[in-house]
């Protein structure tokens, strides 16, 4: 599933994929794959992304379908 919220949060921070990749020490390809839903990041990477974008895990990675 595509992670549009992460893409939007990144654009709100005026960051390119390359900038975010540098900020969390991964390749641009990894960021692209997370945004397109082709890669499941580890919890540590999720936390780093949240810190870089100033968001919480819920705001970026929690899907409404997970709510009971």
């Amino acid at each position: 599933m595509k992670n549009k919220r992460m893409k939007i949060a990144r654009i709100e921070c005026d960051m390119k994929q390359e900038d975010l990749a540098k900020a969390v020490a991964v390749t641009r390809q990894t960021i692209g794959m997370i945004e397109s839903g082709n890669y499941n990041p580890s919890l540590n990477l999720c936390i780093s992304i949240c810190e870089a974008l100033g968001k919480t895990l819920n705001e970026l990675f929690w899907e409404e379908t997970h709510e009971k």
């Binding site: 390119k16 994929q17 390749t27 390809q29 945004e35």
Partner: protein, 161 residues
Amino acid sequence: MKNNAVQDERAVAQKNKIGSEVCNLLLGGLFISLLVKEYILNLSFSQYATEVICLFGAVIYIVIRNIIAGNDLYGVKNNGKKSVIVTSLLCGLAICVTAGIANYARYYEKYADGTFLITLAILFVSGTVITFFVYSPIYILNQKRQTKIAEELDKEESDIK
């Protein structure tokens, strides 16, 4: 019917890691076996050809698989050409030293003054040139793949704007 089979991701990751370690140990063992047969036991090539084929096969597989998967083999951006030249020179030096030692141990009686130095120079130059011609196509393929991935990512990135 719901599948309740346990898919413990920690256990799966651990198994993959163990598999990778075994593979590294095997490749290391093959390399040591190759060196022992070549330099200590002085066996002919046909007696260690299997090791050479397996090692080359493994290296080719690792390189091709990484390029297809899109992993940047050279890592450092804009420094690839320099790394190709440095690696070629280092490989040339390694070939010069290892083959030079083996050569001298076998044929030291036949070396007259200066002949051995010429042999070393030929070994260094040929080792460097061969490595360069093997390494360069890999570098070009890797660069092409990286450029293609970057274009795809650019396209995806511009789609949302």
